[in-house]
C-alpha cells in the first residue's frame, strides 16, 4: 500500500514537470500555429546551460536558475520566433515540421559541440532535504516541482485572463489579422509566447535533470511526454493539458512499479509515453476538410524519358567503374549511400509529391532489414516480401490516424519510431538487446552477388529502377492525383476521391520503399543491429532530403551521399562533430520553404554554365554535317536559334507560367553541363 502511495507521489511529481513542459508547448502552438518538435531539445540545451552556470562556473544555484529561466531561455525563444519560425503558422506542415526538426537537430548539435559527452550530474534542489509523509520520504525537490507546476498553472491563467498582453495572445489565436486592425502586434505576441514557452521548457528540463540525468537523448525524448499531454488538451486547453500530464506521470510511474521485470512487458515501461501519445492521437476527433485557396507548389519538373534513361545509364556506368577501384571499406560507404538514396526516394514520394512528413523512415528501413533476415530467403522474392512487410507496418501506423492529417500523422510516426526503437527492435525476437543479426547477400535469379563491388552495383540498379518507377508514377494519373490531393483535399473529396485510403496507400508505398532499402542494406553489411535504426536517424534523413531537394530523384541521390558522408566527416573531425548537425539544420531552415533544395540550384547552375560556355564547348567539338546546311556559319546560327528555342520551351512547358517568378525556372537533372555533348551526338 505504501509503495502504491510512493508510486503515486512519484507519478505526480513527474507529471508536474511534464505539465510545465506541455503548457509551454501549448502556449507557443496556440499563439503561432507552429508545433515545436524541438521543445524538448530546447529544455535539454538549457539544462546543459544550467549545469554550465551552476556546476562548471560555480554560480549560486539561484542565480544560475534565474539567468537560465529569465535571460537565456527567453532570448533563445525570442530569437527562434523572430528569425526562424516567423510566418510558419500558415505554411504547410511539411515546411513547419521540417523547420522545427531542424531546430531540434541544431540544438542537439550545439549541445554536443559545446558540452562534448562526459559524465555530468546536476544535484536536485535542496539536496538532502526531505520530509516524512505517511511513512516514506518526499524530497524538497519533489515538493518544489509540484509547487512550481502550480505556480506555472496559476501564472499562465493570470497572464492569459487578467492581463492585456495575455488577452492579446488569446486574441491572436482567434484572428491575428483582426488583432492588427485593433492596433495590436501579433508578431510581438508570438515572440513573447515563444520566450515564455522556451522558459517553461527550460524549467521542466532543469527540474527533471536530477532524475533523468544530463543526457542528450533522454531529455530530448521528454518532449514525447509533453506532446502527449498537450495533444490531450487539443493543443489549446491548458487545464486538460495539466490533467493529461498528471495522468501520464501516474501511468508511467505505475508502469515502472508494477510491470513484470522480464519479457516483452518489461520493455513496455520504456515506451509508455509514446504509447500514451499514440493513444491520444487516435482519440482525436475527425479533422475537418479545410477550404483554402489556389496555391500551387513549384516542384522540380520531370525529365524527359530519354534524359532520365541516359542519366540512369551514366550513373550505373559510373558506379561500375568506380566500384572496381575502391577498397572494401569505401565500397561499404558507397553501398550505404545507395541505401540512404533509396530511403530518400521514399521521401520524394511521401513528402516531395504527397506533402506528408514521416519521422520514422529509418525505422521502416529497420523493419525491412529485420523482415529480410527473418524471412531468410535471400532472393528477389524475399526482398519483395521484406518490402511488403514494411509497407504493411507503414499502413498499420497510418490506419489509426486515417482521419487526421499533417501534424498528427507525423507525430504518430514519431511515437511509432520511439516504440520500435525502445521496445521492438531490442526484443529477443528481433535484433536483441545490444545484439545483431547476420544477413546473407541477395541472389538474383539463382546467381548470388558475393563481391561487395558487385553488390553495390546491384544496389545502384535498384536505386535507378525505383527512381525511374517514381518518375513514371509522377507523370501518370496517380502522380497527378498526388499533386491534386496536396493542392486541394476538399476538391479531391468532392470529385470522389477517398483520400483517407489514398493516404494510407501512399504511406505504405513509401514505407515499403524504405523497407527494401533496409533489406538491401542488411545484405550489404552482413550483420546489422538495432543501433543502426534509431529514431534520430529519421530526423537527419528528413533534413538532408530537404536540403538536397525532396522533389527530385537527383536530390535523393545527392542526399544519400550527403547522409552517408555525415558520420564519416564527424569521425574525421571529432572536434566539430556537433557543428555538422548545426550546418545541416541551418541549411534545412534556409531551404525548407523551397522543397526543391540544392538539386534545384544545381540544375540552375547547369543551365547557367550551358548558356555561358555551352556554345564555346560545342564549337570545339567536330559536328557532323547537317543536311541542307553545310556552311559552318549557318550551322552555328541554326544551333544558336535552336538553343534559344529550347530554353524558351523549357521555361514555358516545364514550369508553365509559374507563379514563382525567378524561382520557377527550374529544370530537370538532365540540364547539367554534361548535356553539352548531346547536340553533337544527335
Amino acid at each position: 500500500m505504501s509503495s502504491f502511495l510512493a508510486f503515486t507521489i512519484f507519478g505526480l511529481v513527474s507529471g508536474a514537470a511534464y505539465a510545465i513542459a506541455a503548457s509551454g508547448l501549448v502556449l507557443t502552438y496556440s499563439t503561432t500555429r507552429v508545433f515545436n518538435i524541438a521543445h524538448g531539445a530546447l529544455g535539454m540545451l538549457l539544462s546543459f546551460v544550467f549545469w554550465d552556470f551552476s556546476v562548471r562556473q560555480g554560480m549560486p544555484t539561484l542565480l544560475a536558475l534565474f539567468l537560465v529561466l529569465f535571460v537565456v531561455a527567453p532570448a533563445i525563444g525570442w530569437f527562434l520566433q523572430r528569425f526562424v519560425a516567423r510566418g510558419l503558422g500558415d505554411a504547410p506542415v511539411s515546411v513547419s515540421l521540417v523547420v522545427t526538426v531542424a531546430i531540434l537537430v541544431a540544438t542537439l548539435g550545439l549541445a554536443q559541440q559545446v558540452w562534448p559527452p562526459e559524465a555530468r550530474s546536476v544535484q536536485p534542489f535542496f539536496a538532502g532535504t526531505s520530509y516524512e509523509m505517511f511513512g516514506f520520504f518526499i524530497t524538497a525537490h519533489q515538493i518544489l516541482t509540484i509547487v512550481l507546476s502550480l505556480v506555472v498553472a496559476v501564472g499562465l491563467y493570470v497572464l492569459l485572463n487578467r492581463t492585456r498582453i495575455g488577452t492579446a495572445m488569446r486574441a491572436s489565436v482567434d484572428n491575428p489579422e483582426l488583432l492588427k486592425l485593433f492596433g495590436g502586434q501579433p508578431e510581438r505576441v508570438a515572440a513573447l509566447s515563444w520566450a515564455i514557452g522556451t522558459s517553461l521548457a527550460a524549467l521542466a528540463g532543469v527540474l527533471l535533470v536530477s532524475t533523468v540525468g544530463l543526457d542528450y537523448f533522454a531529455l530530448l525524448l521528454l518532449v514525447i511526454n509533453a506532446f502527449a499531454a498537450a495533444i490531450l488538451g487539443r493543443l489549446q486547453n491548458l487545464p486538460l493539458t495539466f490533467v493529461g500530464a498528471m495522468s501520464l506521470g501516474l501511468v508511467t510511474s505505475y508502469a515502472s512499479g508494477y510491470l513484470p521485470t522480464d519479457g516483452l512487458l518489461n520493455s513496455v515501461r520504456n515506451v509508455v509515453p509514446a504509447l500514451f501519445l499514440f493513444a491520444v492521437i487516435v482519440l482525436m476527433p475527425q479533422a475537418q476538410l479545410r477550404i483554402g485557396q489556389v496555391k500551387g507548389i513549384v516542384s522540380a519538373p520531370l525529365p524527359s524519358p530519354f534524359k532520365a534513361l541516359s542519366w540512369s545509364g551514366a550513373l550505373l556506368l559510373g558506379v561500375a567503374l568506380v566500384a572496381g577501384a575502391l577498397s572494401e571499406a569505401n565500397l561499404l560507404l558507397v553501398g550505404t549511400a545507395a541505401t540512404y538514396a533509396i530511403v530518400m526516394l521514399s521521401l520524394v514520394l511521401l513528402t516531395g509529391y504527397g506533402g506528408h512528413v514521416s519521422l520514422a523512415q529509418i525505422t521502416f528501413v529497420g523493419v525491412g532489414a529485420l523482415a529480410y533476415i527473418k524471412i531468410d530467403s535471400p532472393n528477389l522474392g524475399g526482398l519483395l516480401l521484406a518490402g511488403l512487410v514494411a509497407a504493411g507496418v507503414g499502413a498499420l501506423v497510418a490506419l489509426p490516424v486515417i482521419r487526421l492529417t499533417g501534424l498528427y500523422l507525423a507525430l504518430a510516426t514519431l511515437a511509432f519510431a520511439v516504440i520500435m526503437d525502445r521496445m521492438i527492435f531490442q526484443a529477443d525476437f528481433a535484433f536483441g538487446f545490444n545484439g545483431s543479426l547476420s544477413a546473407e547477400r541477395l541472389s538474383i535469379l539463382g546467381y548470388q552477388v558475393d563481391s561487395t563491388a558487385g553488390y553495390v552495383w546491384v544496389m545502384a540498379v535498384f536505386f535507378v529502377l525505383m527512381g525511374l518507377a517514381l518518375l513514371v508514377v509522377r507523370a501518370g494519373p496517380l502522380g497527378r492525383m498526388l499533386v491534386a490531393l496536396r493542392d486541394s483535399p476538399a476538391a479531391c473529396g468532392t470529385l470522389g476521391l477517398d483520400q483517407r485510403w489514398f493516404r494510407v496507400g501512399l504511406f505504405a508505398a513509401s514505407a515499403g520503399m524504405a523497407g527494401i532499402a533496409g533489406a538491401l542494406y542488411a545484405g550489404l553489411r552482413g550483420t546489422v543491429g538495432a543501433a543502426e535504426f534509431q529514431f534520430f536517424g529519421s530526423f537527419t534523413l528528413l533534413l538532408l532530403a530537404v536540403v538536397f531537394g525532396v522533389t527530385s530523384v537527383t536530390g535523393a541521390a545527392l542526399g544519400g551521399v550527403g547522409l552517408m558522408m555525415l558520420p564519416v566527416l564527424q569521425a574525421d573531425y571529432p572536434g566539430i562533430a556537433g557543428l555538422f548537425f548545426v550546418v545541416i539544420a541551418v541549411g534545412a531552415i534556409l531551404l525548407a520553404r523551397d522543397p526543391n533544395g540544392l538539386a534545384n540550384q544545381l540544375f540552375r547552375l547547369g543551365r547557367l554554365l550551358d548558356r555561358r560556355f555551352g556554345n564555346r564547348i560545342r564549337e570545339r567539338i567536330p559536328v557532323l554535317p547537317v543536311p541542307g546546311g553545310s556552311l559552318g556559319g549557318m550551322r552555328e546560327q541554326a544551333r544558336a536559334e535552336h538553343d534559344a528555342n529550347a530554353a524558351a520551351d523549357h521555361s514555358l512547358t516545364t514550369v508553365g507560367l509559374g507563379a514563382g517568378g525567378g524561382a520557377a525556372t527550374t529544370s530537370g537533372p538532365d540540364q547539367g553541363p554534361a548535356e553539352n555533348k548531346e547536340p553533337a551526338g544527335v
Binding site: 492585456r164 492579446a168 488569446r170 486574441a171 482567434d174 489579422e177 483582426l178 486592425l181 485593433f182 495590436g184
Partner: protein, 235 residues
C-alpha cells in the same frame, strides 16, 4: 471641400496576376461620410484591405490625414487613428465581450473609458460582459465591433459590409449608431451592399466597378444615375 482625411491616387492592387484594383482615385473630405457602392467583385473589399494595410498595393498612393501611408502595416495605421471594422467576423469569438473591448485600448484609449462608452451606447453589452463574443448573435457582435469605433474617436472609420448576414431590423439599429457617430464629426468610409441604407447616412457616395471608382457625387444623384452599376450585381 476641406482637406481630405483620406486621399487615394491611382491605386493598383492584384492577387497574383489578377489585377483587382486598376487605378482607384478617391478622396474623403474631413468630417464627411462617404458610401462606397458597387457590385460584387468590383474591388470594394480589396480597397478596404489596402487602405487598412492588410494588403499591399502594387502601386499608387494613400494619404491618411495628409500622411503618406503606403508602407504601413495594419497595426501602425490603427495607431495613426484608422479604425477598420472588417466584413464578417469582426470580434474575437473566444474572448468575452469585456476582453474584446479591452483590446481596443491598443488605440490609446484607457480601458475604463472604452467600457464606459460601449456600455453607454449598448446597455445590452453590459449585461453580457462575461459572455464569449462568439456565442452572441451577429447583431450583438457588430455592436461590440461598433463600440471600438465609438470609444476610440478615430480619424477615419472604415466600415466594410456592416450589415452582412444580419436581419434588416438589426441593420437599421446599427446604422442608427453609425448616424450617431457621424454627429461627433468622425469621417467615415462605408462599404455597403444595401445601397439605400448606406446612402441614408452619407454626405457623398462613390461607385466602384471593375476595379475603378466610376462615379462620385451626392447620394441622390448617384442613386439616380448609377443605379444600374450599383445594383447590377449584388442588388
Amino acid at each position: 471641400m476641406s482637406v481630405p482625411i483620406l486621399e487615394i491616387v491611382d491605386l493598383h492592387a492584384a492577387y497574383g496576376r489578377i489585377e483587382v484594383l486598376r487605378g482607384v482615385n478617391l478622396s474623403v473630405p474631413k468630417g464627411a461620410v462617404m458610401a462606397l457602392l458597387g457590385p460584387n467583385g468590383a474591388g470594394k473589399s480589396t480597397l478596404v484591405k489596402v487602405i487598412s494595410g492588410q494588403k499591399k498595393a502594387t502601386s499608387g498612393d494613400i494619404h491618411l490625414g495628409g500622411v503618406h501611408v503606403r508602407t504601413g502595416g495594419p497595426e501602425e495605421l490603427a495607431r495613426l487613428g484608422l479604425c477598420t471594422i472588417p466584413e464578417g467576423r469582426s470580434v474575437f469569438p473566444n474572448l468575452t465581450v469585456e476582453e474584446n473591448l479591452l483590446l481596443m485600448s491598443y488605440a490609446g484609449v484607457p480601458a475604463e473609458a472604452v467600457l464606459e462608452t460601449a456600455f453607454a451606447y449598448f446597455p445590452r453589452l453590459k449585461e453580457r460582459r462575461k459572455q464569449l463574443a462568439g456565442t452572441m448573435s451577429g447583431g450583438e457582435q457588430q455592436m461590440v465591433a461598433m463600440s471600438r469605433a465609438l470609444a476610440s474617436d478615430p480619424a477615419l472609420l472604415l466600415l466594410d459590409e456592416l450589415s452582412m448576414g444580419l436581419a434588416p431590423l438589426i441593420v437599421d439599429e446599427l446604422y442608427e449608431t453609425v448616424g450617431r457617430i457621424t454627429e461627433t464629426g468622425v469621417s467615415i468610409l462605408c462599404i455597403e451592399q444595401f445601397a439605400r441604407t448606406a446612402l441614408k447616412i452619407s454626405d457623398y457616395a462613390a461607385v466602384m466597378s471593375g476595379g475603378r471608382v466610376v462615379a462620385t457625387g451626392e447620394p441622390d444623384e448617384i442613386l439616380e444615375t448609377m443605379s444600374d452599376v450599383i445594383l447590377g450585381g449584388a442588388a
